[in-house]
């Protein structure tokens, strides 16, 4: 088998400060080139932290990262200085929920994209501008020549999102990380951006990791899904497997709570309670207090990661019973 584009092994991320937070507690995932993985989870589940680890965007002093994080075979945790700068934007790029924070308000869109291309590929300013125009055209910004000289505040929300995507893909990264890039957008604009990302990902053969809390969004873009809860991947598999045959009780609850196709007036099967605080690393199943299928052992030990098939894993004691006959 060829080397995966992304290989994360037993990742633990802990934040130290006024209080300790165990944000990621043993995440392993792989991504092949040209594949899209969605990480689905609620706030505090560790999905964004996992993503930021791949770009080393977490505050160095307060963060402890343990485990292996490799992109194209390169250990990201040991990068520093020039090699880290080459990694960011050259090999791996990221797009965010709020383009206003991702773009620099005092430079034009064209200047920002040209600068990134100049830095990563050593080309002239003029060549950088040509590439910036290409990128803006590629993300289908109307009248791109004019937008090269526009400042971020002069654009509408959807157009800023496109400009940020143009900046992210200008250097043809191998991996695109997307952190809820459509959450703040209106419905009719969200679908345009999702379709654009799907198209760019296929055209450039990029790997993409897409973090979202919206199952519908994950369905639109991904090949595989990983569901996170309390800093762990509780279930992963192909999009079809996870959506049509969810195995973990949390995934089932999340799908039921999503209301797609829920009959009017029908009572929702809500998951009771709230996610744990993560002041301590989990020593038992973190979902047990809210789980309808809880048994004694769930509150004593960390559930095993059960393999149900190629790329299909569930972290639940009940899944072990399902898998054993095979």
């Amino acid at each position: 088998m060829t080397q995966p584009l992304v290989d994360v092994r037993d990742l633990f991320v802990t934040f130290h400060g006024e209080r300790t937070v165990h944000a990621v507690n043993g995440v392993s995932l792989t991504l092949q080139a040209g594949e899209t993985l969605s990480i689905l989870g609620e706030s505090g589940s560790g999905k964004s932290v996992t993503l930021k680890t791949l770009l080393r965007l977490l505050p160095e002093k307060r963060t402890r990262i343990e485990g292996g994080v490799r992109v194209r075979g390169v250990d990201v945790t040991t990068l520093s200085g020039r090699s880290l700068a080459d990694h960011r934007g050259g090999v791996v790029s990221m797009i965010f929920q709020d383009p206003m924070l991702a773009l620099d308000p005092v430079y034009t869109i064209g200047e920002q994209i040209a600068e990134a291309v100049m830095r990563h590929e050593g080309v002239s300013r003029a060549a950088g501008r040509v590439r910036a125009l290409e990128a803006l055209t590629r993300v289908r910004i109307p009248s791109p020549e004019r937008r090269l000289n526009a400042y971020p505040h002069e654009m509408s929300g959807g157009m800023r999102q496109r400009a940020m995507i143009a900046l992210a893909i200008a250097c043809r990264p191998k991996l695109l990380l997307a952190d809820e890039p459509t959450t703040a957008l209106d419905a009719t604009v969200q679908i345009q951006i999702l379709l654009l990302l799907r198209e760019l990902q296929q055209e450039f053969g990029m790997g993409m990791i897409f973090v979202t809390h919206d199952i519908g969004v994950a369905v639109e873009v991904s090949d595989r899904i990983a569901v996170m809860y309390a800093g762990q991947i509780v279930e992963t598999g192909s999009l079809r497997e996870v959506i049509s045959a969810p195995q973990h009780p949390y995934t089932r609850g999340l799908l039921a709570a999503n209301l797609h196709g829920a009959a009017k007036g029908e009572r929702l099967s809500a998951i009771p309670g709230a996610p744990p605080a993560l002041n301590e690393a989990p020593t038992a199943c973190p979902f047990a207090p809210r789980c309808p299928s809880k048994i004694d052992v769930c509150e004593r030990i960390l559930p095993p990661v059960v393999r149900l098939g190629p790329e299909r894993y569930v972290r639940c004691v009940h899944a072990a019973a399902v898998a054993s006959p095979a």
Partner: protein, 343 residues
């Protein structure tokens, strides 16, 4: 000005009637301090809400749905228009103060809605006390309401907002809204900031409270799945105007206005085999400052005809007598060739 082309069938007086509500905000910064433009945030909005019903209001940012809610409870003073509760005109037959006892509101940001220096019981008891209730009785009521929204009074009464989760805070905001035994509760994106699993809990709570207290809801949201679940009727807004209103099943199954169709078509698919292949609309919603002439949607509408940029469409009654759409295609003799069979 009547916005309805056809008289609605005679029903008993609705609990809430809104007639031609309008609010334009002047933009400062023009030459010598003159207004630089006008934001037509809400422009001639009329609708009724029957007692015990839930009306969902949907639309994208800038469509005026939140401004409409604020105009209803007089948080923003309307330029013109009428709010009538139980046949009594607010401002004439009923004071604003009395109106607010009948109509309460819950906002999206559960944290900003609560005074950080007040405990939960004080926050809920505050309104009744200001309105002349004794402290002991107001606190008793607060405890009762906390229990009603699923928060044990013994544990939660003395807590401050930062000691609660988002879902718990939103429960407190709902309890506070209920302190005056209102008839109508306006929920402005009240569950939008919550995680899905918590959102479902709060939606169940809203359903329980509604049947227990015989409440009427106006539920504003951008989430079409949630609106479909909770609403009896749905109103769709675009750039400050109502483009379509109708019973939830009829509107979702047979959306009439091209904008409603696009909005529903933009919902992400839940079926991996039937992903969305084409975005129903290009571009962003236009700016409500100096909106397009005629039908405000005509600049993005693939069915736009000449008449659409020239005159404003009126609300036209559809097959279901309670379903209206403001689109020239449905008005005979408007000069519009119709939408054809495609959608």
């Amino acid at each position: 000005m009547s916005v309805f082309a056809t008289e609605a069938p005679a029903l008993k007086t609705p609990l809430l009637q809104i007639n031609d509500l309008t609010k334009h905000f002047a933009l400062n910064g023009g030459f010598l301090g003159r207004a630089a433009g006008v934001v037509r945030a809400v422009d001639g909005v009329s609708f009724d809400v029957a007692g015990g019903e839930t009306l969902g209001i949907v639309g994208e940012s800038g469509c005026g749905k939140s401004t409409t809610a604020r105009l209803l409870v007089d948080l923003i003073r309307p330029d013109s228009g009428q709010v009538v509760i139980d046949g009594r005109l607010v401002g004439v037959d009923m004071s604003v103060r009395e109106m607010r006892r009948h109509m309460q509101m819950v906002f999206q940001d559960s944290y900003a809605s609560l005074n950080p220096r007040m405990t939960m019981e004080d926050a809920i008891a505050f309104g009744p006390m200001v309105n002349g209730e004794s402290k002991a009785r107001a606190l008793g009521l607060a405890h009762e309401l906390l229990a009603k929204v699923g928060l044990e009074p013994v544990r939660f009464a003395g807590r401050y907002p930062h000691e609660l989760s988002g879902g718990q805070r939103q429960r407190v905001n709902i309890a506070r809204a209920l302190a005056f035994s209102p008839k109508i509760v306006i929920l402005d994106e009240a569950v939008s900031a919550l995680d899905k699993s918590v959102e479902a809990q709060v939606l169940n709570l809203l359903a329980d409270l509604k049947s227990e207290l015989n409440l009427t809801y106006i539920f504003i949201s951008h989430d079409l799945n949630v609106v479909r679940h909770i609403s009896d009727r749905v109103m769709v807004m675009y750039l400050g105007q109502v483009v379509e209103i109708g019973p939830v099943n009829s509107l979702y199954a047979q959306p009439a206005h091209p904008y409603t169709r696009a909005l529903l078509g933009a919902m992400p698919s839940m079926d991996p085999d039937r992903r969305t292949m084409e975005a129903p609309l290009a571009g962003d919603p236009p700016n409500p400052i100096n909106p397009p002439t005629g039908c405000r949607f005509h600049t993005r509408c693939k069915f736009a005809a000449e008449v659409c940029s020239q005159s404003q469409p009126i609300q036209h009654i559809l097959a279901d007598a309670r379903h209206y759409a403001a689109c020239h295609a449905y008005t005979p003799g408007s000069g519009h060739p119709g939408l054809g069979m495609s959608s």
